[in-house]
């Protein structure tokens, strides 16, 4: 069930936006015709396979590939020796930053392996089975080192060290000895000590979460063709083709102009397919094997063991409130696993943790911590879910002590325009309070929950959202349709949500647009589909294109009627001049007589992306014998700014909830004491199936983002932020135990119940 609640004062009058056309790529995707990365087959194509480390932490003493090379059918073997020595410099890739040497070593380990599954060498052979057999013949000598597996132990001075060259960075100041703490961040505002003195109630708790994976169904894959003239073509599954081009160019030290990246359809990403793993390797294999194309696809075990999950974490939270329930002070410490190389999303977690609340006194410390696990990657509102789990359950405890309704508490303390974030900046128009009001007035919240061992939980969440660079180009076809090219990979219906913004501007139907995802040689630079930015930023580029096309078509109409442009009106796809009129499609058929083709292109980098807020309500029943948590009802409320393509906005909310539920109740990386991942299959890393979930109701609140022509706010990420906290609060309501560890698996719930019994 979906409800949409526009908050805009003036009623909008859109003819395309807010409707639900069939998505343009829909038929290809329900018939199996859509071509994903691994579907590619090229003449003479060979198959790659990777040797991976069985150890979590070891020096590589030697690698002998001679036996593998002599297997019939093997055409090339590569190791880190085939990669150029890149400097230890920080490169800016799109919005993120990355240390090139670290990334290079992550793609093929040089002298040290840093996690179980770390890539060491790759083989290309005429079929995948031969490649795998050859990989097994590669001999590696290791000097095994003690693995560092626990985030708090990693921070201690006596811990084994992953990188001798890493010193703790504190805003540009480096520590003087090697440390697994790659960085310390801090946000501070007001006077925390005084704030806690003013508190009537204080709750202080600690929280533990494990690494979890994005769980996209399509494994990483890449195919490369190295041409004798040095030109390289890469077909791959990525969230951002331009990002792949930049990263491959830097890792292989070749100009970007030599590389063309063709993004195939992508089977999910959620942040995990921004970075690269296989691409440089298949390029090298193709080059070394006599310019044959090489395809490499990860197995599911490789995906789980050796691509970037999101950080496990240790978090301490202390919050105080006065008698009336006003927050007087907050304090938090967040330690996030970065994995094998620096760069977790702890900074984002620090930004998310108290973001929904108006707080005068705050101290938040964050630590980016190296451990012998895969290098973490973004995962949907990266860093946010861990942080919200901690804050939002502490708030639930405060509400209990204050005897306050959790939504009333949030309404009292919630942020609105003009309030200041804990890291300093002031909010513009946001819709947090509107999500709370909608939650409070929802059918769900107004219906009492009855029955034993049942409980209701509420939690809120925040995400920054991002703008970034996007380009679009379009040409008007003589039948009145428009061919639209963008560089935005379509993971969940964005071809259509972008096309709808172009169509709206021209008063034509969404079906009149022919949107395509172009490769890196065919459209302007466009950042990846991440940061909840695509409908917002690439949609904006399409809006700019619509304005240009409108101007150009007005000129053509003026030519036909032999009048001035400013005497012609353009209303809902029809050009009007006196009592004459001509539709957009009719005019499009007359381009030849008025000067030839009409095309337009635009590049944008909007800054005012407009943060997203969500409030979730969940009812659960807990089986006190087994600890199993059954979700009875779920409602996700979210400010979407303006829902361009509502079915797919709703689907983002539902999908975010489902991932959040998996994180909350089942999913976690399990390592043995030697740092070997023991649950690297979907049998053991259990993601929610259809039977685990109820229907997920959504309420879309629309508080238009003043920073977008159609009011769009990104919607993709924030829905994963509240679920674990909402479920923890519901479990408390059901059986009276406060869960401080994710996942809240049956065993953990039973353990807490047993403690409660004493």
């Amino acid at each position: 069930m979906t409800t949409t609640l526009p908050v805009d004062e003036k009623k909008d009058d859109y003819s395309v936006i807010g409707k639900n056309p069939h998505r343009h790529d829909g038929t290809d995707k329900v018939t199996g015709r859509a071509q994903y990365g691994a579907d590619i087959r090229l003449p003479g194509m060979m198959y790659g396979a990777m040797l991976r480390s069985p150890h979590a932490h070891a020096h590589i003493l030697s690698i002998d590939t001679s036996d593998a090379e002599s297997v019939p059918g093997v055409r090339a073997v590569v190791t880190a020796k085939d990669l150029p020595d890149v400097e230890s410099k920080i490169a800016e890739l799109g919005e993120g930053t990355i240390n090139l040497r670290h990334q290079s070593n992550n793609i093929l380990a040089k002298d040290k392996v840093l996690y179980f599954g770390h890539a060491i060498a790759a083989v290309a052979a005429v079929n995948p089975h031969i490649a795998e057999e050859a990989v097994a013949l590669i001999k590696v000598e290791y000097e095994v080192l003690p693995p560092v597996l626990n985030v708090r132990k990693a921070m201690q001075a006596d811990s084994a060290i992953l990188h001798e060259d890493v010193r703790t960075d504190e805003l540009g100041k480096k520590g003087d000895s090697p440390s697994n703490i790659a960085a310390h961040f801090q946000n501070q505002i007001g006077d925390v000590e005084k704030g806690f003195q003013d508190a009537h109630v204080i709750v202080e708790r600690e929280f533990f979460t494990s690494m979890v994976h994005q769980g996209y169904i399509e494994p990483q894959n890449a195919t490369a063709q190295y041409s004798p003239d040095g030109q390289i073509t890469i077909w791959c599954s990525t969230q951002g083709s331009f990002g792949v081009r930049e990263q491959v160019a830097k890792i292989l030290d070749i100009p970007i102009s030599k590389i063309r990246v063709i993004p195939m359809e992508i089977g999910g990403g959620f942040g995990g397919k921004n970075g690269i793993y296989l691409e440089p390797v298949v390029v090298l294999l193709s080059c070394k094997s006599g310019y044959r194309p090489v395809k490499m696809t990860m197995s599911r075990s490789e995906v789980l063991a050796a691509t970037g999950p999101t950080s496990g974490s240790y978090i301490e939270v202390k919050m105080g409130a006065d008698r009336n329930g006003r927050i007087t002070a907050v304090q938090a410490m967040l330690a996030y696993e970065a994995g094998a190389y620096p760069g977790s999303f702890v900074g984002a977690g620090m930004g998310v943790i108290f973001a929904p609340y108006r707080i005068e006194n705050a101290l938040v410390d964050g630590y980016d911590v190296l451990v012998n696990k895969p290098h973490t990657a973004a995962y949907r509102a990266p860093g946010g879910t861990n942080a919200a789990f901690a804050c939002e359950t502490v708030i639930d405890e405060l509400c209990e002590k204050l005897n306050m309704d959790p939504i009333e508490f949030r309404l009292l303390n919630g942020v609105k325009e003009g309030d200041r974030r804990v890291d300093g900046p002031v909010y513009n128009r946001i819709g947090y309070l509107e999500t709370l009001e909608a939650a409070k007035n929802s059918q769900h919240y107004r219906t009492p929950l009855e029955g034993s061992n049942r409980g209701r939980g509420v939690a809120s969440g925040f995400w920054f959202n991002y703008g970034g660079k996007s380009s679009a180009s379009a040409s008007v076809n003589s039948d009145g349709t428009i061919s639209l090219l963008t560089g935005s990979v379509d993971i969940g219906g964005t071809r259509t949500s972008i096309a709808m913004q172009l169509a709206e501007g021209l008063g034509i139907s969404a079906e009149s647009i022919r949107p395509a995802v172009a490769d890196t040689d065919s459209v302007g630079y466009t950042e990846g589909t991440y940061g909840s930015r695509t409908t917002f930023a690439t949609g904006w580029a399409a809006y700019e294109v619509s304005n240009q096309l409108k101007e150009k078509m007005l000129e053509r109409a003026a030519m036909i009627w032999e009048t001035e442009v400013n005497k012609i009106q353009f209303v809902k796809g029809v050009f009007l001049y006196g009592d004459k009129q001509i539709t957009f499609a009719q005019l499009a058929s007359r381009l030849d007589e008025t000067g030839g083709p009409v095309v337009a292109s635009a590049a944008v980098r909007p800054e005012h992306s407009g943060p997203a807020f969500a409030t979730h309500i969940v009812d659960v029943e807990v089986d006190p014998e087994t600890g199993k948590v059954q979700i009875l009802r779920y409602t996700a409320v979210q400010d979407a700014g303006k829902a361009i393509f509502p079915n797919y906005v709703e689907s983002q909310l539902q999908g975010g909830v489902a991932q959040g539920v998996g994180w909350a109740l089942n999913e976690e990386y399990l390592y043995d004491d030697q740092g070997r991942l023991v649950n690297s299959s979907w049998l053991d890393y259990r993601m929610p199936v259809a039977l685990d979930l109820p229907m997920i109701d959504t309420i879309i609140v629309e508080v238009p983002n003043p920073g977008h022509p159609y009011g769009v706010r990104g919607v993709g990420e924030v829905p994963i932020v509240p679920p674990p906290a909402a479920l923890a609060n519901a479990i408390y309501g059901a059986v009276g135990v406060r869960m401080n560890t994710l996942p809240m698996s049956p065993a953990r719930v039973v353990a807490e119940l047993n403690k409660q019994k004493g």
């Binding site: 399509e218 999910g268 696809t297 689907s651 539902q654 999908g655």
Partner: protein
């Protein structure tokens, strides 16, 4: 190199003949030899259902069936679901309900749902969820998929 075996089968209603190694899975042969890439590899060990196909009327994960096992049998893949007249009602309803995001799991869901409706034309929500519990979707939270299948069942009932 392993000796290849000759296999004859009916795939999507057409007689096909191919050579394969005994170790090759049905999924590998469908995708790499026969060019039927609608069935997807998500896990290659029978956990995700992205490679679901129909073998003699029963659902199988083609990643854990050997290609040689289909000798003499009938296989239907997602490419064989649409009719010469257009999309199958399930495909129509997946589009109408926006029951997909990335679309990678979609072929498996369509194929699995087809057998459900063939066997149980009027399933309950629980029956749909139980039947589809062998197919993983990470994007949608299943809500819209379940609705699409229930709606397809209703529209099929009506058209009978």
């Amino acid at each position: 190199m392993n000796k290849k075996v000759r296999v004859q089968a009916t795939i999507n209603g057409e007689e096909v003949e191919f050579l394969c190694e005994p170790r090759q899975s049905l999924l590998e042969v469908l995708r790499e030899t026969l060019g039927l890439t609608g069935a997807k590899e998500g896990c290659n060990n029978g956990n995700c259902g992205a490679c679901t196909v129909i073998m003699d009327g029963a659902l199988v994960n083609s990643c854990i069936v050997l290609a040689v096992e289909i000798n003499g049998h009938r296989v239907t893949t997602v490419e064989g679901i649409a009719t010469p007249h257009g999309l199958h009602p399930l495909q129509e309803k997946f589009l109408a309900h926006a029951a997909l995001q990335c679309g990678f799991c979609t072929p498996g869901f369509i194929v699995a749902s087809k057998i459900l409706l063939d066997q149980n034309p009027n399933p309950s929500e629980f029956e749909v969820r139980e039947w589809l519990a062998g197919n993983l979707c990470r994007c949608t939270g299943y809500d819209r998929i379940v609705r699409a299948v229930l709606d397809a069942a209703q529209s099929q009932e009506k058209s009978l």
